[in-house]
């Protein structure tokens, strides 16, 4: 632990109250560290001002790699490396290569995207994530505010969250 980090943690019961609260406190200049929810909340990413994820681009690039790799391999193997006469057909004709090309595209695209997702989200099967409140996977929405990010005092932030409908406000230090 390099240094102590102090957070104010607001607990919200309802997702609609939460989204409004996020919009309002951000308007007032509060900087939110992150909001943790038990399920994806519609409109929360916009309220927090997150940029759209670029994972679809990653998926497309991986897919394209798969397409090229599969086509190249098939044409090279059957057309050049060891051409075989199968029923007098062309050595390297495109139509029979499409199914394998398609499957390989899907395979690389899916796995590439998911591995990218795990890396950018810093998810791995070892080590514990930083948890502000264990109820955030059960039924509560948890808004974490880093004191170092904000000029306001602890009490002012607590009051602001309470005013916006937080059912309780706690402190958490790491």
């Amino acid at each position: 632990m390099e240094h102590d980090k102090n957070f104010v943690v607001g607990i919200f019961d309802d997702e609609d109250v939460l989204v409004h609260a996020v919009e309002n406190v951000r308007e007032k200049g509060l900087r939110i560290h992150e909001v943790y929810s038990p399920f994806p909340v519609h409109g929360l990413d916009e309220a927090l001002g997150y940029r759209r994820t670029r994972l679809p681009i990653a998926a497309f690039m991986f897919g394209l790699t798969g397409t090229c790799l599969a086509l190249f391999t098939q044409i090279w193997m059957l057309g050049y490396d060891w051409p075989m006469d199968i029923g007098g057909k062309n050595h390297a004709s495109l139509p029979p290569f499409i199914p394998v090309t398609f499957e390989f595209t899907v395979l690389l695209s899916a796995f590439g995207m998911v591995i990218t997702f795990l890396i950018v989200s810093n998810m791995k099967p070892y080590g514990w994530p930083r948890q502000f409140d264990l109820r955030s996977t059960d039924d509560k929405h948890v808004m974490a505010v880093d004191l170092a990010d904000n000029k306001l005092s602890k009490e002012e932030i607590s009051r602001m969250l309470k005013d916006q409908g937080a059912s309780e406000v706690n402190e958490k230090n790491f």
């Binding site: 943790y36 060891w82 499957e103 948890q131 264990l134």
Partner: protein, 457 residues
């Protein structure tokens, strides 16, 4: 604050809150298994071991232990293979295609249906693997790997090789999709374990959940991944049974050489898959007390899909027959007359009765909302779809081009045993899944509880 729609039936009954969802679904993971579960898994393991003996005898002695002969070179093995692969299709349809169509009723059944897909594909794969005989080299030779014969590469023009790629991709992508869905739910179990003081369980489920924290940014990325995986799985699932059907359709055997096969196989697959989902879910919802999440409304909607796909299958049967007559190819005409009136007439008419007539009963609301009748019809459909594959494969083969090589197929105990093996494997895997993994996608159900849960009275 809950809203009840007056035109749609609630998807979650019993006035559940978000909290209740974690409580109800985590209960079977955290608690001790019931006696019924023990009985069920004992029976499954016994079936599995009986079948494993037959599988072992096949590996030891070779494919000759099956009832195959020179004329009927494909029989139960490929019938069972196609049957199991088809069953898998419903899981992907529910999780991927219904996600793209924004059908929210998929949410409480997709987890179990996807698990069914994965186990069904494993069962399916065991048949071509067994049919290769030498399990220790067969799978390696079916991949384009450098070898000492040249390298002599695999034949990319062959539908059987397409199948290798299609089935393995389908399996791995389905597994990925299923696992992605499980990640947030493993985190629920982990955090409950921390709060209740089970450190070992917390550690295991933390590893399984990849340290999920549920931040808004992660959720945003996660939803994007889920949507793209659904978009990838949709053409994938259609391609899988298309390619399976091409194993037959690209050959010149009368009865197989038809262009109708891909759509006909895909709809048949979804038809049989939904029947299996219903068979399984009707039992599990009782066993694990999930009646509030898998409601009669869910069952009715699935039955409607069975009517649709069953009718498509019925039209395909009739079209096949018509085209055989209209096409004026004598061998093709003989083949279809032989199906209906030849020595295997009983298989053909079982198929027609089970697949074409029985699902039409679901037009009656009383029948499609009744648990007992749904259960019975779902099993009848499963049987019918097995006969469909048997009819296509064995009847087309047993009358060879030369009458001197005409033959019949008689299964041996090893044919039957291999089939039993897959049943044992399937139910054992499914019961273990039901015990250790959350059976219902909690995160998704929680997101709809507020809008579609029934109000507490």
């Amino acid at each position: 604050m809950q809203v009840t729609s007056s035109i749609r039936e609630p998807l979650v009954t019993g006035g559940k809150t978000v909290r209740d969802v974690s409580e109800d679904i985590s209960r079977q993971v955290e608690g001790k298994p019931t006696n019924l579960w023990w009985i069920a898994i004992s029976v499954s393991v016994v079936l599995f071991l009986l079948g494993a003996y037959c599988f072992w005898m096949l590996l030891w002695n070779g494919v000759g232990v099956w009832g195959l002969n020179k004329t009927v070179g494909w029989a139960w093995d490929i019938t069972n293979f196609v049957w199991w692969v088809g069953i898998g299709h419903a899981g992907t349809l529910i999780s991927a295609i219904l996600l793209l169509f924004r059908q929210r009723w998929r949410m409480s059944i997709n987890r179990a249906a996807e698990a069914m897909t994965i186990f069904a594909v494993i069962c399916a794969a065991s048949f071509p693997l067994a049919h290769m005989g030498r399990l220790w080299i067969g799978p390696i030779w079916s991949l384009p790997l450098p070898n000492t014969f040249g390298s002599l590469w695999v034949n990319f023009n062959s539908p059987l090789l397409w199948d290798v790629f299609a089935i393995s991709t389908y399996f791995s992508v389905s597994l990925l999709f299923w696992y992605m869905g499980l990640i947030p739910d493993f985190a629920v179990i982990r955090d409950r374990a921390v709060r209740k003081g089970h450190p070992l369980r917390a550690m295991i489920y933390n590893a399984l959940s990849f340290g999920w924290s549920g931040g808004a940014k992660t959720w945003m990325r996660y939803e994007s991944v889920a949507l793209i995986l659904a978009g990838l799985s949709t053409p994938l699932v259609l391609s899988v049974h298309t390619i399976v059907s091409m194993d037959f359709a690209t050959s010149l055997i009368p009865g197989w050489h038809t262009t109708i096969f891909p759509p006909y196989f895909v709809s048949g697959a979804i038809f049989s898959g939904f029947a299996m989902v219903l068979t399984l879910l009707l039992v599990t919802r009782k066993l694990f007390k999930l009646e509030d999440y898998i409601t009669i409304y869910h069952i009715e909607l699935m039955n409607i899909i069975i009517i649709i796909t069953g009718s498509i299958v019925g039209i395909a049967y009739i079209t096949e027959f018509f085209i055989a007559w209209y096409g004026q190819v004598p061998a093709e005409q003989y083949e279809f007359i032989n199906r209906a009136t030849g020595p295997y007439w009983w298989a053909y008419w079982s198929m027609m009765t089970c697949n074409v007539i029985s699902p039409q009963l679901f037009w009656f609301k009383k029948i499609r909302t009744n648990l007992v009748s749904t259960f019975i019809i779902s099993i009848i459909v499963n049987i019918g779809m097995w006969f469909e594959r048997f009819v296509i494969i064995v009847i087309s083969l047993h009358r060879d081009f030369l009458p001197s090589s005409w033959s019949m197929f008689h299964p041996t105990m090893y044919d039957v045993g291999q089939y039993i093996f897959t049943f044992g494997l399937f139910f054992t895997a499914f019961l273990l899944f039901a015990k250790f993994f959350p059976m219902i996608n909690m995160a998704e159900v929680k997101s709809i509880v507020k809008s579609t849960s029934e109000k507490k009275h």
